[in-house]
Subunit: 189 residues, 4 copies
Amino acid sequence: MKEEITRHSVKLFQQKGFSETSIQDIVDSVGVTKGSFYYYFKSKEQLLMEIHSRYIDDLLHRQKKVIANEENNQNKIAKIIELIILDIKTQGPNGRIYLREMRNLSKKNADIIKAKRSKFRHNIEQVIVEGIESGEFRKELQPKLITFAVLGVTNWSYQWMNPSGDVSVEELAVIFSDFVLHGIQAKEG
Amino acid sequence: MKEEITRHSVKLFQQKGFSETSIQDIVDSVGVTKGSFYYYFKSKEQLLMEIHSRYIDDLLHRQKKVIANEENNQNKIAKIIELIILDIKTQGPNGRIYLREMRNLSKKNADIIKAKRSKFRHNIEQVIVEGIESGEFRKELQPKLITFAVLGVTNWSYQWMNPSGDVSVEELAVIFSDFVLHGIQAKEG
Amino acid sequence: MKEEITRHSVKLFQQKGFSETSIQDIVDSVGVTKGSFYYYFKSKEQLLMEIHSRYIDDLLHRQKKVIANEENNQNKIAKIIELIILDIKTQGPNGRIYLREMRNLSKKNADIIKAKRSKFRHNIEQVIVEGIESGEFRKELQPKLITFAVLGVTNWSYQWMNPSGDVSVEELAVIFSDFVLHGIQAKEG
Amino acid sequence: MKEEITRHSVKLFQQKGFSETSIQDIVDSVGVTKGSFYYYFKSKEQLLMEIHSRYIDDLLHRQKKVIANEENNQNKIAKIIELIILDIKTQGPNGRIYLREMRNLSKKNADIIKAKRSKFRHNIEQVIVEGIESGEFRKELQPKLITFAVLGVTNWSYQWMNPSGDVSVEELAVIFSDFVLHGIQAKEG
DNA sequence: GATGAATGAGAGTTCATTCAT
DNA sequence: CATGAATGAACTCTCATTCAT
């Protein structure tokens, strides 16, 4: 039931926004009563926090695996981009909430999520640092800013990308990896 | 007075979000009463619509000038990126509202804004198309998707960029132009 | 278990008030679940009724003994005052609920308790009547009103008296008996 | 209107209790809507606080005058008792709320009211101290405890006294003054 | 005996909006 | 132009109570 409520909430938050979705909307959608909602969740914010936590925890976990498994830094970057882009199809609504609705977390909860987001960002930054050291990427790059550029490319996709449109997530991942790698690779030969 | 109300609203919407900001918050901030607000604005949504309209109209106007004045497509791209990034300093709050708060427009108004946003996007796409034709940019690029990538890089900056931090908007514009152009330029020689 | 629930309830009702204490508060305090509560009590009101009933039944029982055992009416008054005041130490919370939370009984139950309270009051009144007849107390006293005065002195003590403060309940009982008896005794010879 | 709301609230709080009276009850009684209530009061607690404040401020003010105007301490005591008892007729509901509903004030507000209540009590205590010194009252009395006894007599009257019953407030004031003064006066001659 | 999930009514509060003055 | 009183709908959340297991 908790799962059920969460599922419907994610869908509604994504469509209408967190503040614009009422508890009534949620329970009507699930087909239960308000009392039930508050049996499972202490507050509306707690529900939002759970959505955020799950999402970023899962992302961090998979990012870790990718970084551990890929051999060179170019591939690591490509795989991280792929990770985020392929998720649009399976995790789209979750991702959109994750990217838009942090304002509605309490300071305490927001801090927890922010720390994890930073971790995710620093992991990418680290790959770029190592890619520069290994000669894969251009020496003059500023890893921190490039990381923000990469995240801009991937995260913004959650705003416009339609996985059932004429470009598939798989194709998009390749195209964006290509764009990013051209942007940062050192000249060959 | 209308200007005054708009100014305070922009600041508040950016800090707390549109739904989370009450008319009371706005009029308290300005130092007038609710009656006054409704003398100048038909509704809260109309205020939001005006903020959106102004912002995108101004952006389109300046984009047009840039495209007209720059000679080659590389410079056009660089100048458009600069346009968006430099704005973070002067138009940050407006920009953030523009990027986040479209959900709260009525369908009718949202459609108007969406059309203008598309125009802005198509103008960039057109530059890329022409850059490919002129040989400046790589033949295999998909202009539409590259446009989304570029907008991702610039728009996402409104989320994290602090114009009074250790990287200035001017530096960031150069760094991001460089990144994007490396990503799309045809191999020389 | 029923005893256990009642004990914890009395403590909570006294601290926060009947309406302000939820069934959840009670069962959390006891360490059981709501289902259990409703196994032992038909309703929250029934619990309150039992607390009231026990308290006044016990009081009436002990008042009866005191009146039967004491020889003169002065001693009867003194012993009744002692009875109520000493209880602050052992029955404080029960007493406070008894004095404050009658509003939350249904009419039917309230009537039952009111009848018993009246009985308690009339018993005191009767002692005063007999004391006047015997010449112990002043002729001009109005027994009914004096009874209310005595009850005011004793009952109000439940509001402010701290049995572990610098006056003990034993001392207070003596002081208040003295005050009351001076107030009603006939001038001696 | 604020006055109107307060008046109806006092009546309802007295009848049903603060927690048991809903904002809906209040506005239905006045004939306005909930919005109006919150136009005049920040919260339900603020309304309660205003009722408490007014009541104790008025009481303190009048107590001060009585103490200043009466010549001997016996009269001061008698007049203070009269003050409280006569109020049952005109201020009954206010008084009952004052005596019963302090639990529902926030700690901050409760502290303010408690301080004023203590002032009222200390003023009586002071009269007793001076009466002992002047020889009017018995030497062995403990002023603090006697004060509580006197307040018990008067305050408890708010619970049972019916000003339109067969004893008038004026008569009761005389009877209770007489009872109290007999209780504390030094033996004459 | 005891649990835990579920209910439904109602609580206090907020808020965009209206309108007579 | 501007105010301030008033509305009514909706909001988040609480709670006594029920009942299948």
